[in-house]
C-alpha cells in the first residue's frame, strides 16, 4: 500500500452542523491513490499535540487532486482543524488502511453518527444495487448528498425523522435487504450489525476505530481482538490502522 506524507492545503472548509465540519484538502498524490473506507492522518500545527488524528476520507476527487473529510470537533486537535481557513496548510499522511472491498452484490451501506461521512464515497463508487441507511441523533447532515446517489433510509434517536431508534430499526421498519453490509459507526452499532449479518447470512464489512499513534502499523497501539492469529504478530490481535480499519465482521472479537 502506497502512502504519502505531505503538506496539504485547505481548499475549503465549512461548518455543516453543530460541531461538524466539512473540509476539502488539496493533496493530489493522496487523492490519486485513495479508496473508499481509507483514512488519512492529520497532524496538528500546534506542537504540543504530536500524534496525528485519524480521519476517514469522505470524498475523493483525483481530478482536482483533493480529498474531503467531514469531522466532529471532539477535542483540541479537531478544534484546531475547525479553525483553519482556505489557504492554511497542515501535514497529512495517507491514504491509510485497507478500505472497503467493493462487491457487485446487493448492498446495504450503513453509517451511524460520525461514521456516516466515510460511507459517502463508497455509496458513490459502489457499482451494485444499494440502499443507504443512516443513523442520526437528530440532525441529518450529509443526507441530501446520499440521496443524490441512491435510496436513503433514516433512523433518528428521537424518531423526529425516519425510524425511531437505530439503523437496525430502520432496516427492519423499511424492510431493507441486501447480501453485503458495509458499515461505519459506534461500536455497539457495529456489534449489533455483526450479529444481524450473521443471523441473516450476510457478509458485513465494518470499519473500526481505536486510538492510534503511528497510523501505519508500527506501534501496535490500535489493535482489535481477532478470531484468527494475526499474520503480523502471530497473536489474536490485528492492527486497525494497517490491516483495517475495515474488517469482515466475522473476524472481529467484540468485547
Amino acid at each position: 500500500m502506497e502512502m504519502i506524507k505531505e503538506t496539504a492545503k485547505v481548499v475549503r472548509q465549512q461548518q455543516i452542523d453543530e460541531g461538524i465540519f466539512d473540509m476539502e484538502l488539496s493533496f493530489p498524490k493522496g487523492a490519486a491513490l485513495a479508496k473508499p473506507g481509507q483514512f488519512i492522518a492529520m497532524y496538528c500545527n500546534d506542537k504540543s499535540k504530536l500524534l496525528p488524528r485519524p480521519i476517514s476520507i469522505c470524498g475523493i476527487n483525483p481530478t482536482e487532486g483533493t480529498l474531503r473529510v467531514v469531522y466532529r470537533v471532539a477535542g483540541e486537535g479537531t478544534k484546531e482543524f475547525s479553525e483553519m481557513k482556505a489557504g492554511d496548510t497542515l501535514e497529512v499522511m495517507g491514504p491509510l488502511g485497507n478500505g472497503f472491498t467493493m462487491k457487485n452484490e446487493k448492498a446495504i451501506i450503513i453509517g451511524g453518527g460520525i461514521g456516516i461521512p466515510p460511507m459517502l464515497e463508497l455509496a458513490k463508487q459502489l457499482d451494485a444495487e444499494k440502499t443507504v441507511v443512516l443513523g442520526y441523533r437528530t440532525s441529518t447532515f450529509l443526507k441530501e448528498e446520499f440521496e443524490e446517489v441512491c435510496d436513503v433510509k433514516i433512523a433518528t434517536e428521537d424518531g423526529s425523522q425516519g425510524a425511531k431508534g437505530t439503523v437496525i430499526d430502520a432496516i427492519e421498519k423499511y424492510g431493507v435487504e441486501g447480501k453485503v453490509i458495509y458499515a461505519c459507526g459506534p461500536m455497539p452499532m457495529l456489534k449489533a450489525l455483526a450479529a444481524y449479518a450473521e443471523e441473516h447470512g450476510m457478509e458485513a464489512q465494518i470499519s473500526l476505530e481505536e486510538r492510534m499513534a503511528c497510523g501505519i502499523g508500527a506501534c501496535l497501539g490500535c489493535i482489535c481482538k481477532s478470531k484468527t492469529k494475526d499474520h503480523h504478530t502471530n497473536v489474536n490481535n490485528t492492527r486497525i490502522c494497517k490491516d483495517g480499519p475495515v474488517f469482515d465482521a466475522k473476524e472481529v472479537v467484540f468485547s
Binding site: 502506497e2 502512502m3 506524507k5 497532524y43 506542537k47 504540543s48 499535540k49 504530536l50 500524534l51 496525528p52 501535514e91 499522511m93 481505536e210 486510538r211 492510534m212 499513534a213 503511528c214 497510523g215 501505519i216 502499523g217 508500527a218 506501534c219 501496535l220 497501539g221 490500535c222 489493535i223 482489535c224 503480523h232 504478530t233 502471530n234 497473536v235 489474536n236 490481535n237 494497517k242 468485547s255
Partner: protein, 300 residues
C-alpha cells in the same frame, strides 16, 4: 565528515537508530526511510514466545508527548528470526534486537536463540512499565539488575546493552549495577510512568491505567540521566527520550551518548530518523566538525 561511531566494539555508519517499539521491525517505515541509511534499526521487544500485550486503548496523547501501554505484544523469537531479521538484512540494515521477558530464563532463551543471527547488539529491556511480571521489576532494583545482567551476559554471543528505566531514585546506581553485571553498553531512557484520566467519561484513558510517557516532554529528564550515567560508569550509552530533531540528538550526544534512538518522533513525522540524521550533518557543517565522535560527552 565522519559519522561512524563504535559502540561496544561494533561499528555503526552513523549514530542514529530507532527506539524499540516505535518502528516495528522497520518494514512499516520503508516508504519513508531507507533502512540502510540508519546507524541501525532497533526492533520492537521480542520474547521467547508470542505475547498478546495489553487491552486497548493502549496509547494516549499528552502535552508534548504520549503514553503507551502496548504491553510488549510481539510475535515471539521464532517468527522474528524467520521473517524480520532476513528482511532487515536484505534491506541492508544493521540490527539491534530489543529483548523482553518475564523471567531470567525467558531473556536467556531469546538471547541464545539469537546467537547465530546477524545481529549487532542485544538491547535488554528490563524497564518496561507496562507488563505485570518481569520487565520493570528487574529495572528498579540494583541487585536484581546485576543478577539478570550477569545471567544474560553469560549466554549472549553479541554485546549486550541493558536498557534502564528512568523511574528510579538514582539512575547511576542502576548503571553501575549493570556495569558490574557485565553489560557492554547502556541504553536510556525507557518511558516515565504516567497516567491520563478522561474526565468526561470518568475513566482512565488507557485500559492499563498507567502507561509509559515518551516524546519531547521527557527530553530534559533523559539528557540529565544520560549525563549522570556517563559520569558514573565507563559504559558507552545509547541515548533516547524525546529526540525530535538533529539538535536534540546533538544535545543527547553532548550529554554523553554515543548513539541516539528516535522514538515517538516517528509517529509525529515518519521521516523523523532521516531528518535527525540530516540535522546532525547540518550542525556538523555549520560548526566545521569533522568527526561526530568529537562531540560525544564534550561538556562537563
Amino acid at each position: 565528515m565522519n559519522l561512524e561511531v563504535t559502540l561496544a566494539g561494533k561499528k555503526f555508519k552513523n549514530p542514529v537508530t530507532t527506539a524499540s517499539g516505535t518502528f516495528g521491525s522497520g518494514a512499516e517505515y520503508e516508504q519513508f526511510v531507507d533502512l540502510a541509511a540508519l546507524g541501525a534499526v532497533t526492533t520492537k521487544g521480542v520474547a521467547n514466545v508470542p505475547w498478546e500485550g495489553n487491552p486497548t486503548p493502549r496509547v494516549a496523547e499528552t502535552y508534548g508527548g504520549m503514553l503507551n501501554a502496548v504491553g510488549l505484544q510481539n510475535p515471539g523469537i521464532d517468527l522474528f528470526c524467520k521473517r524480520d531479521i532476513p528482511h532487515l538484512k536484505e534491506k541492508g540494515a544493521s540490527i539491534i534486537v530489543n529483548v523482553c521477558g518475564r523471567s531470567t530464563s525467558d531473556y536467556v532463551e531469546v538471547v541464545e536463540r539469537l546467537a547465530d543471527e546477524p545481529v549487532d547488539l542485544l538491547e535488554i529491556n528490563v524497564s518496561c512499565p507496562n507488563v505485570k511480571e518481569g520487565g520493570i521489576a528487574f529495572g528498579q532494583n540494583p541487585d536484581a539488575l546485576y543478577e539478570i545482567t550477569k545471567a544474560i551476559k553469560a549466554k549472549a554471543k553479541q554485546p549486550i546493552v541493558m536498557k534502564l528505566s528512568p523511574n528510579v531514585t538514582d539512575i547511576t546506581e542502576m548503571a553501575r549495577a549493570a556495569e558490574a553485571g557485565g553489560s557492554d553498553a547502556l541504553s536510556l531512557i525507557n518511558t516515565l510512568t504516567g497516567m491520563k484520566i478522561d474526565i468526561h467519561r470518568r475513566k482512565f484513558v488507557l485500559a492499563n491505567k498507567t502507561g509509559g510517557m515518551s516524546g519531547p516532554a521527557i527530553k530534559p529528564v533523559a539528557v540529565r540521566m544520560v549525563y549522570q550515567v556517563s559520569h558514573a560508569c565507563k559504559l558507552p550509552i545509547i541515548g533516547m527520550g524525546g529526540i525530535l530533531t538533529g539538535e536534540d540528538a546533538i544535545e543527547m550526544m553532548m550529554a554523553g551518548a554515543t548513539m541516539v534512538s528516535v522514538g515517538t518522533a516517528n509517529f509525529h513525522n515518519p521521516r523523523a530518523t532521516m531528518d535527525v540524521l540530516d540535522g546532525i550533518k547540518a550542525y556538523m557543517e555549520r560548526y566545521h566538525i569533522e568527526d561526530i565522535n568529537e562531540i560525544i560527552g564534550c561538556i562537563d
